[in-house]
Symmetry: C2
Subunit: 153 residues, 2 copies
Amino acid sequence: MELDLVDKQLVKLLQEDCKKTTKHYADMLQLSKTAVYERIRRLERTGVITQYVALVDKKKLQKDFTVLCHIRLVQHTKDNVLRFEREVLKLEEVSECFHVGGDYDYILKINVADMKSYREFMLTKLTTINNIGNTQSSFVISEVKNTPSVHIG
Amino acid sequence: MELDLVDKQLVKLLQEDCKKTTKHYADMLQLSKTAVYERIRRLERTGVITQYVALVDKKKLQKDFTVLCHIRLVQHTKDNVLRFEREVLKLEEVSECFHVGGDYDYILKINVADMKSYREFMLTKLTTINNIGNTQSSFVISEVKNTPSVHIG
DNA sequence: ATAAAAATAGAATTAATATCTAAAATATAA
DNA sequence: TTATATTTTAGATATTAATTCTATTTTTAT
């Protein structure tokens, strides 16, 4: 599917705020409500837009302590890799998980309340997963964001 | 503000899909439309919910190539740090930026089309920012996600 | 136990989405 | 180029959902 300039502008608007009225986007883009409505439907139908979600204030939910945890596996057989990924996804503290090349095998973004919770998470959850070699925790001092944020699904 | 169990369930539902009708959430939670409506308003008003956004398919937007780029600064004075952060935020390829402790100073999540674009990004954009020491790029082989995703704002 | 405050349900209103029809713009084929 | 088909758009209408309102219930504090 080919996105024209208007589509791209519309996607960007929806990435910043998806709850405005169709008329609002229509005014921004100098189009009629129907035109915008149909474009949005098409973006959904063709899978460009995958989800509409609420974003929350980490601090308010006591998940303000972020760590980027680098993980090396011991063995890299397919079975081991798949089992690791399956186990990791069960942990609600893991908000992102990347299988990467280079120094480490995985980089996880962990969100918890504080250092104490992180220690607890490491000892009772993460390190109980088999096949983890060593880990290196990069503690997040601050998250640098632009406003309004454009989130990549 | 204190969140009760129903609030937490509601937040989770909204983090998975914020475009269902109030009635839908009401049915899920065994409450009336008004009850859910007022709870959502309160979550917004008190800043628990910060944003409603559309998530997009990276592949469809040709931003399917993800790199976690680790960066060391040369100097760590306040001015240098602030300037670096300001410059980094101007780059649309940077979808997340964390100031971290440990081995490196910053970890950036970069989204571009392919390796060629990444090279171009590094040469013509990132490394033109002053005060960058060295970088280490962790190329993402795959992103491990649970469905439906609960995204942390 | 009682009063005050907060939360909830259900009805009424307002406003938005979704649908329909026709017109305009764009692309396609002769 | 001209005619035809396809897509996109605008405007009107119908449908559905959000919002507001009032009364009732539940919770909280005294």
